[in-house]
Amino acid sequence: MGILLFYLTAFVAVIAAFFVTKCRNPVNSALCLVTNFLCLAVLYVMLEAPFMAAIQIMVYAGAIMVLIIFVIMLLNLGTSVKGNYVHGLAGGGVLAVLMLFLTNRFVANGQATGTGGEITSEVIKSVGHTELIGRAMFTDFLLPFEIASILLLVAIIGAVVLSKRKI
């Protein structure tokens, strides 16, 4: 049951990712990317990471993709690409086959150690995924968290300075 659901979701994700590059119309490409993000969210749920799934939808599908569509709208990029671009597809195809080959080699050569960390499904069920992430973020990884927030603050100030010539 679980493995069937995984194959279905993965199949849809791969098809959607393919059509992101294949679609002639940027709006359709953006929609395919949203589909891909939703499939990733489902995969997160299956990996017992519901918090990640919710954040994936909220941040990527809910905010970033809306901004991309916003840009398409404002710059009026909605018209389809007419010309052929076989060379791009060919290059991408070669790269994809190469990556598949590499991945296969790594998977075949690698050895699963079979040891898991201290966070198991039981811990997630009893404590809760959100609590675990919050605890890790605000105790063990406090410094990276603070550095990330300062980076974001700098980005916000930069955006304001760039968009407003006189403040």
Binding site: N28, A61, M73
Partner: protein, 351 residues
């Protein structure tokens, strides 16, 4: 013998049946309220403006929603030749679906006990209790933006495009304020599950004032206000109905739509209104807690919310676009952030 909570593992058949029944009931009730919310809205606004509202179809105009639905269903469905077909057809569905699936995590009554094969099970009256309940709702609210944006973009008409741009800016900014106001609630409840939040609101206020229930509207009045205003902007109700602004944009993003697709936008608006009312009732008004049966209390609170939204529509004029943005970013966002800080300090001192 104490009854245990019904899960898929202890009784698969009964679980499936209970699940299907709950889903069907929640869906049917939502759609019924959607249909009759239009009738109520026309009657209430009519009353407030000393008009009659619908009177001709059926007794007191009660069949009006059905007549409207049938009329729109049988109208010709026109897709403009310059429109982007896929997105144009998808848009109305993408605005209705998130509104309907948000209902899945809302608890609409207290637990009932069912006896099956001599064993008693507790069946919670909630389709599913996610432990990330609120985040799920916020995620679905984020997906709701697509419908309007795509409708505006795919119609390939300048009025629709303007409506779409306005709505995406508006919804993104107000989502932020509404989301931040909810954070203060789950700082108090210490859980993200909707069921947990309702249970945290039972009993007397702060454990001492016995004549008031422990609802978060008393503990978090500012968050409640921000949530109501923010959600009103998110579902595009007057005074925040700039995306469809009939007078300036010829109904904005749905200018080019006709027939059933047009009807879907209005169903989505009312379905969103119901969802938001249900979330508000769960987070701030104690969910199913109250003097009557669980689901009755819940419906009364939802209807009170919806009446408030309709009342606001009859009372306030539409905001100007720059006023809307100024209110969202310069008033509501700082207030929501300040509320979080104050709540955090209060929680620390309380402990």
């Amino acid at each position: 013998m104490t009854p245990e909570v019904l899960t898929l593992s202890n009784s698969p058949l009964l679980f499936t049946i209970a699940m299907l029944v709950k889903i069907l009931v929640a869906f049917a009730v939502t759609m019924l309220i959607v249909a009759y919310a239009t009738w109520c809205e026309r009657k209430i606004i009519g009353g407030m403006q000393t008009r009659m509202g619908p009177t001709m179809t059926g007794p007191k105009g009660l069949l009006q929603p059905i007549a409207d639905g049938l009329k729109l269903f049988f109208k010709e469905d026109i897709i403009p030749s310059e429109a982007y077909k896929t997105a144009f057809i998808l848009a109305p569905m993408m605005i209705l679906a998130p509104a309907l699936i948000s209902v899945a995590v809302i608890p609409f009554g207290n637990d009932i006990t069912v006896t099956w094969d001599g064993v008693s099970y507790i069946v919670p009256l909630q389709i599913t209790d996610l432990n990330i309940g609120i985040l799920y709702i916020l995620a679905m609210a984020g997906l709701g933006v697509y419908g309007i944006v795509l409708a505006g973009l795919a119609s390939n008409s300048k009025y629709s495009l303007l409506g779409g741009i306005r709505s995406s800016a508006q919804m993104i900014s107000y989502e932020l304020a509404a989301g931040l106001s909810i954070i203060a609630v789950f700082m108090l409840s210490e859980t993200l599950s909707m069921r947990g939040i309702v249970e945290a609101q039972q009993g007397a206020l702060w454990g001492s004032i016995s004549f008031l229930p422990n609802w978060y509207i008393f503990t978090q009045p500012l968050a409640f206000g921000l949530f109501v205003v923010g959600s009103m902007a998110e579902v595009n109700r007057t005074p925040f109905d700039l995306p469809e602004a009939e007078t300036e944009l010829v109904s904005g993003f749905c200018t080019e739509y006709s027939s059933m697709k047009y009807a879907l936008f209005f169903m989505a608006e009312y379905a969103n209104m119901i969802t938001v009312s249900a979330i508000g009732a769960t987070l701030f008004l104690g969910g199913w807690g109250g003097p009557f049966l669980g689901w009755m209390n819940f419906l009364i609170k939802v209807f009170a919310f919806m009446f408030f939204f309709i009342w606001i529509r009859a009372t306030f004029p539409r905001l100007r676009y720059d006023q809307l943005m100024a209110l969202g970013w310069k008033v509501m966002l700082p207030l929501a952030l300040a509320n979080i800080v104050v709540t955090g300090v209060a929680v620390l001192l309380w402990q």
